[in-house]
């Protein structure tokens, strides 16, 4: 089975690694901005697809699949992964789509439809959140809504097209804003209202099915550490979750999975409110960024399970064979500038060295010299650690992030370290709004500043000494010293 990976970055490399281990040849595609991106070399073939938005172009991807003779297409996450028309086109072309059936993607892509299905399957759904907002708001509409309320795009996902209205006066404006963004992003301006759940936790359940009636769950993930609705740290098991609630989550996810006769990997997202009630939010019908934490505690390679199913297999695991060991945490290392409101940063990686050692995993797409572009997202690497319990995993993550060396572009490493040691994180008592109030220290601190000052002065001094004409009898700017000479040490 030759697999075309219709994605880029770390997830493309992640998928190609498993392909290689299973003996499946893989095919990479790359856009103009990615012509020297690392995922091209992790595959057995690589096909240029032109402009930067080509990862979103079903026709271009299908052409590449045809050209390479691929038998299957893995969409990864983002891009075409939740595009039902693409999945349908892949299957129409006689290829295997590594993911849910197209109709499942379609149903889950419409957030209103997915809620209706969930409600029918007996899942708890937030009141009113399965109806669209009418084009013209009837008189009194805004007054009948319970505030604060979120305005969400029906075709949305990944945190886009969401607005918060705190009062009737704000509602109309926020609906307009959400419609505009939704229209631009998804070409569909349908929006709906979802009551804001205060002090909510975002907890999701991983499911795996074979489309032949068998669905199992692979545990939950706690994903409440979010900034601008983007997850930053994820973990499993969810800290402090009562066993009865965990079982309720699993049962709900399984009910929905079975009602959909779910195929491949999927994630059922819930909100957990402060009273301990769960509320279905949506289904992500694809592999998630944070899937490695599930792999660490279950010992499963989720991409491998996807590939086995895609190659025609049935679900080979029974629910009772799934066991959970210890705790796993993932931290997303992003190219962003903490001093400028965490804006995405660009540049080039001038040096890097990833952490290693016991129970540390890094999924990345990085190399020294790599340009960091803003054409795609700002994820540089995912650091995933395992520990026999949550405390051990937190300590290990701090150690690993301290080891991670990246130069040339600002990152969130220092931010993540502070977050990991913050009391609310350590105690596991945080909500989705935690990062709105969490204020990291940006100042490097007097000790580090002094150390940096000494290093810089010595650096400038060496630079100066080596550029002086009388040094070694010849002009030799330090930057141009040959490799071997640079390696002498001191």
């Amino acid at each position: 089975m030759k697999v075309l990976v219709a994605n880029r970055g770390e997830i493309a490399i992640r998928i190609m690694r498993t392909c290689r281990e299973m003996g499946f040849p893989s095919v990479a595609v790359y856009s103009d901005a990615d012509r020297i991106a690392p995922h091209t070399r992790s595959a057995d073939e690589a096909i240029a697809i032109g402009e930067n938005k080509s990862y979103l172009d079903a026709q271009v991807i299908l052409d590449a699949a045809r050209r390479s003779g691929a038998d299957a297409v893995h969409p990864g996450y983002g891009f075409l992964s939740e595009n039902a028309a693409f999945a349908r086109a892949v299957e129409a072309a006689g290829l295997i789509f590594i993911g849910p059936r197209p109709e499942t993607i379609e149903k889950m892509g419409d957030k209103l439809e997915s809620r209706r299905i969930a409600r029918e399957a007996g899942l708890p759904v937030l009141p009113g959140s399965d109806e669209s907002v009418p084009c013209e708001l009837p008189v009194g509409y805004a007054e009948n809504v319970q505030y604060p309320v979120l305005v969400k795009a029906a075709a949305g996902g990944g945190g886009r097209g969401i607005r918060l209205a705190r009062s009737p006066g704000e509602l109309e404006m926020m609906i307009a804003a959400a419609r505009l963004e939704a229209c631009q992003a998804f070409d569909d301006d349908t929006v709906y209202l979802e009551p804001l759940v205060p002090e909510a936790r975002h907890i999701e359940v991983q499911i795996l099915g074979d489309g032949q009636g068998n669905v199992i769950t692979l545990g939950e993930r706690e994903c409440s550490i979010q900034r601008r609705r983007q997850k930053l740290i994820e973990e499993t098991p969810a800290p402090g979750l009562p066993e009865s609630t965990r079982q309720e989550l699993y049962d709900a996810a399984l009910r929905l999975g079975c009602s959909l006769n779910y195929r491949s990997l999927g994630t059922v997202e819930f909100l957990l409110d402060s009273s301990g009630n769960i509320h279905f939010i949506e289904v992500n019908p694809r592999i998630q960024v944070e899937h490695p934490v599930t792999e660490m505690v279950t010992g499963l390679d989720l991409v491998r399970e996807q590939l086995i199913l895609a190659a025609g297999g049935k679900l080979r695991l029974r629910q009772e064979e799934i066991t959970f060991r210890g705790a796993a945490i993932e931290a997303r290392v992003l190219a962003e500038d903490a001093e400028h409101d965490f804006m995405p940063a660009s540049g080039a990686i001038t040096y890097m060295r990833e952490p290693g050692g016991p129970f540390v995993r890094v999924d990345s797409a990085l190399y020294i010299g790599m340009p960091v572009v803003t054409a795609y997202d700002s994820l540089l690497a995912k650091v995933i650690v395992w520990g026999e319990d949550r405390d051990a995993a937190i300590a290990r993550m701090s150690r690993a992030l301290r080891e991670f060396q990246i130069s040339g572009v600002p990152t969130d490493l220092y931010f993540l370290l502070q977050l990991l040691s913050s009391p609310a994180f350590v105690s596991g008592t945080f909500h989705t709004t935690y990062l709105e109030s969490f204020k990291p220290v940006l100042d490097p601190g007097p000790e580090l500043e002094r150390e940096a000052a000494v290093a810089i002065a010595l650096f400038a001094h060496q630079q100066r000494e080596q550029s002086l004409p009388h040094h070694n009898g010849a002009a030799r700017p330090w930057r141009e010293a040959a490799w071997r000479e640079q390696m002498r040490g001191d």
């Binding site: 990944g158 945190g159 886009r160 963004e181 631009q184 601008r228 983007q230 500038d337 400028h340 409101d341 804006m343 995405p344 940063a345 660009s346 001038t350 040096y351 020294i368 803003t374 795609y376 997202d377 700002s378 992030l401 301290r402 991670f404 060396q405 990246i406 130069s407 040339g408 600002p410 990152t411 490493l413 220092y414 993540l416 370290l417 100042d443 490097p444 580090l448 500043e449 002094r450 150390e451 940096a452 000052a453 000494v454 290093a455 810089i456 002065a457 010595l458 650096f459 400038a460 001094h461 630079q463 100066r464 930057r479 010293a481 490799w483 640079q486 390696m487 002498r488 040490g489 001191d490």
Partner: protein, 160 residues
């Protein structure tokens, strides 16, 4: 040799004579040992080694990475070429705070704007950002064009 290192609002006077290093009048025993051609060094103190990455930037500033922390600093020294200074940013200058795509431009040259009014919308990665007027005034220049890519620090709109 005296080096003036500026990190944020703080100044450090570092005097280096042969192997003696004095920081703000306090002598320290520190050596810098080059490890490779990628800017990796050991900063070796009396009984402690710290790995540091040092890289001169195009602006002449020096980037220092120590563990998870990153500092960009300026250094002044005798005979050192001065870094090109960026013109002081003025109150009415709206620059791109991140590299990205200009999605929308809502003002034209000559238009009067209120403080806080949305001038343009920028998109970078998955985020959209509204660029608002920092002051009230008249738009004297609109450099941003919709659907064009801009670098971080690029002029978008000038208000006088």
């Amino acid at each position: 040799m005296n080096y003036n290192v500026t990190i944020g609002n703080n100044q450090y006077q570092v005097k280096i004579i042969n192997n003696r290093v004095v920081v703000n009048g306090v002598p320290v025993t520190s050596r810098l040992i080059r490890l490779n051609g990628n800017g990796l060094y050991i900063l070796r103190h009396e009984q402690r080694d710290v790995e540091v990455h040092l890289q001169e930037q195009a602006s002449g500033s020096i980037e220092v990475v120590i563990g998870a922390q990153r500092v960009v600093a300026k250094v002044e020294a005798p005979n050192r070429r001065e870094p090109r200074r960026r013109e002081a940013q003025q109150a009415g200058t709206v620059l791109a705070p991140m590299p990205g795509l200009v999605l929308e431009v809502h003002v034209s040259e000559g238009e009067e704007v209120q403080q806080g009014q949305v001038l343009a919308v920028l998109e970078s990665m998955k985020m959209q950002m509204q660029m608002r007027a920092p002051i009230a005034g008249r738009v004297t220049r609109v450099a941003a064009r919709p659907t064009t890519q801009v670098d971080k620090g690029a002029l978008l709109v000038q208000i006088d």
